[in-house]
Amino acid sequence: MSEPLLASRPRILKATAVALAVATALLFVAVLPAEYGIDPLGTGRMLGLTALAGVSASPEPASTAPVPAPTSIKEDVYKVELRPFEGVEYKYRLETGASLVYSWEASAPVKFEFHGEPDGAPAKYFDSYAKGKDAGARGGFTAQKPGIHGWFWENTEATRVTVTLRTAGFYSRSIEFRDGDKIERKFDR
């Protein structure tokens, strides 16, 4: 049997109150601003913590090392559940002249932009192919420039939305940008 301490009642009550107070202070001063961007005391902005909550996927230009275009057709299904007001990017590596066909659908209308980042382009530069707000789209695409080409989806509602993308084409890898993470997936040649 364990033998815990038997502190005096006032000491216990004091310790509990202090624990609660310290936790509440930490919560409002640091945790809420850093995790959720909720900053009732203004301490998050003062300490630079709110920046943590606002981190968005900042797409870096993909590696510019020349990659031979794949010669066999690949297929891919990408399914993602977006939390309220969350955005995600999913792109494919396509060389000049390489094509893909696609179809995506969302369980509710989402903001989207079909776009590409050519190799060697300056930061934040992209070519826009289509944008709007819809519950789905389909079509074909042939890359005019080598780079990564794909979709940005953003859930603008307060409920969760599932987006499903199906593609087939001559891509070598896919890159997902979400929560500040960059996740690459290679397709076998």
């Binding site: 815990p4 301490l5 009642r9 216990i12 624990a19 936790a23 919560l27 945790v31 909720i38 993470d181």
Partner: protein, 233 residues
């Protein structure tokens, strides 16, 4: 090597590399990279799932805080085994039942209760229940009951990953085995540290402060999770 064997080996290697790359404590969530891996798995992959379970336990500070509270005053190894077994029994039941029975619980609420379990244990350890309420609930019952909630927490995390149905039971059991391995690993470290600490003359003074700190951490977890519930509701 067979094709399946090769792919399992490749997955284990990938998981290890990713774990090294990630290298950060994540209270709960299985990381996005792991999530992507899980989504792509076809059929049983026992070692990667065991690894994920172990990683989840070793890097899940809420589970660890609770376990520190549970074994804080356990001197005999037999007692440690008894209490940890009760915790294991509790969380295994709800992990398996939650995923196989597709029982969905709100993960923020579950995680808030897990935070509360840390507060509970800290309060119990300083004699709070006897002194303030005049009665101490059976600690064995408490550890079993909170074990059930911790298991539900594990289940909601796995469900968030949309596990492929092929090989589900095998993967789930592997995950559970991994959880126990990770728990054993973490407990060994905690026990060594606690035994060393107990030899210090001022231990009982430290012990009071440590359990008050445990309560603080628990309260913080509760607030953090409730805020998450409020933001995502």
């Amino acid at each position: 090597m067979t094709r399946a064997g090769k792919s399992v080996a490749a997955l284990v290697f990938a998981a290890l590399v990713l774990a090294c790359l990630t290298g950060v404590l994540e209270a709960h969530g299985v990381s996005r990279r792991d999530a992507l891996f899980v989504r792509g798995v076809q059929g049983p992959a026992p070692v990667p799932f065991a690894y994920l379970g172990a990683k989840h336990m070793v890097t899940g500070y809420d589970h660890l805080l609770f376990l520190v509270g549970v074994i804080f005053f356990l001197h005999r190894l037999g007692d440690v085994v008894k209490y940890v077994s009760l915790f294991t029994l509790g969380h295994s039941i709800t992990l398996l039942a939650g995923v196989l029975g597709d029982i969905r619980a709100n993960s923020f609420i579950i995680d808030a209760i897990i935070g509360l379990s840390v507060v509970y244990k800290g309060f119990e350890n300083i004699g709070g229940f006897q002194r303030v309420f005049g009665v101490r609930p059976d600690p064995r019952l408490a550890v079993l009951a909170f074990g059930l909630f911790h298991g539900f927490g594990l289940a909601t995390k796995l469900q968030d990953l949309s596990l492929p149905p092929s090989g589900l039971v095998a993967n789930l059991l592997s995950f559970n085995v991994g959880v126990e391995l990770g728990q054993g690993l973490a407990l060994t470290g905690v026990l060594i540290a606690l035994s060393a600490w107990r030899t210090v003359p001022a231990f009982s003074r430290h012990a009071f402060a440590a359990n008050a700190a445990l309560m603080t951490g628990g309260f913080l977890l509760v607030g953090y999770q409730l805020a998450g519930y409020w933001v995502n509701r």
